[in-house]
Amino acid sequence: MKFWSQTAAILTKDLLTEYRTKDVLASMLLFGLLVILMFHFAFEPDSEEIRKFGPGLLWMTFIFAGLLGMNRSFVGEKENDALEGLMLSPVNWSSIYLGKMLANLLLLLLAEAIILCLFSLLFNYAIWPRIGWMAAITFLGTLGFASVGTLLAAVSANTRMSEVMLPVLLVPLVLPVILSVVLATAANFAQPAEEPVMFFWMQVLAAYDIIFVTLPLMTFDYVLEK
């Protein structure tokens, strides 16, 4: 019980801080909007290209916007050495990871929901008939991305060039997620939907999530320890 109440305290703290500053959400949304607008000028809505490349474009926007947000997640902890203050509390350090990962997950999902609506609107992309499956794919993909991203954001926060270091470390590790979500999204929006293909890639995502949510919980002590 104590573990979950401490995790909830850290999650609430991160969400409250974000509510006040809007640093993470604003940077992710601005970036997402710019990318979607640029592609809107490049591709005709309803065109064959957008049917073909839409899932890739969408996830490229999600991942790079997510990288921006992830970079910020431990920057705030460095001010006044606040992270050390958390570490000094009688908490299992895994709850620090879990609280921050859940905060990142919620913010990413919120940004992705807004970007997805914009994408659908600007490209006349029919997401609504298959929105339930799209939500499930997005959740699984974002969970994998947030779990590895939070761990690596903690690692890179202590390096001199953390903003460069995070993408260099993170992108190769989340390649299975990127591949799976793009293929699952494409199968979901294919006409007609290719459900067996979509389920296969969703299973790959679920397996990745189980591994990469569990692993950081077991190793986060070593990441924080100096």
């Binding site: 801080t17 006040r20 050390e84 000094l88 009688p90 100096k226």
Partner: protein, 244 residues
């Protein structure tokens, strides 16, 4: 190693890469003692405090805090510790009350709202309780940091260069708190390289140099200041050997 001992450090070594930060340190602090760790920057004072709080894992040796083996049960050990440093550990985006509430939740304190209100009142921050910490002066932040570090009424207070960057008013307030804690029988271990504050109630002064305990002194801060100055002159930076 009795129940009356607040801190036991046994044969602790800590290396950062190839650099030894602590070399075979052993020390024992009975409950209620006020101990000051003296030494230059880089002598190992802060590392020793961080090893005590289990923020840093030693390469060798063991630490026991108020009867708890900190390496085996760091969470229970940290329940007994409050750390005040020159960094405040506060979240600037949160208000003073929210910072204390977060600390209370992490410690699982009962009656948190009343304790937070009392701590804010004691720190003289009632009127600023619901303002974000970002707008606080350094003195106000340090008052809040002290309130935060002692909200859970720790048995052991660790202080790492707490006077650094404080204005006169905040420094006097901190000195007053130290006197109160010492008088109340709380165990205090403070690291400093600066003896100009004229600390009162100190039971022992432990001198560290290059990660080793060089010697221990007792007496008031005026007497220790002279001895410390002579030590610094006799053992200039870069000299190879440890001297008494």
């Amino acid at each position: 190693m009795t129940a009356d001992t607040a801190v036991v450090v046994e044969n602790v070594e800590k290396w950062f890469g190839l650099n030894p930060a602590l070399a075979n340190i052993s020390l024992s602090v009975p409950r209620g003692e006020f101990v000051v760790l003296l030494g230059r920057n880089g002598a190992g004072k802060s590392t020793l405090l961080r090893v005590m709080a289990r923020l840093v894992r030693p390469n060798r040796g063991r630490v026991r805090i108020c009867g708890v083996e900190i390496d085996q049960d760091p969470e229970r050990g940290r329940e007994r510790i409050g750390l005040v440093a020159h960094q405040t550990f506060l979240y600037p985006g949160l208000t003073a009350r929210e910072n204390l509430r977060l600390h209370a939740r992490l410690h699982g304190l009962e009656g948190a709202a009343q304790r937070v209100a009392a701590a804010l009142s004691e720190a003289g921050l009632n009127l600023s309780a619901d303002r974000p910490v970002r707008g606080f002066s350094r003195g106000m932040q340090q008052r809040l940091a002290i309130a935060r570090a002692t909200l859970h009424e720790p048995e052991l207070v660790l202080l790492d260069e707490p006077f650094t960057g404080l204005d006169l008013e905040a420094a006097e307030l901190l000195s007053e708190r130290l006197r109160q804690w010492a008088a109340a029988g709380r165990t205090i271990v403070m690291a400093t390289h600066n003896l100009e504050q004229g600390l009162q109630g100190v039971s022992r002064w432990i001198l560290l140099d290059r990660g080793r305990i060089v010697t221990e002194w007792t007496g008031d801060s005026a007497a220790v200041r002279g001895r410390y100055r002579r030590f610094l002159q006799a053992s200039p930076l870069g000299s190879g050997s440890l001297r008494n």
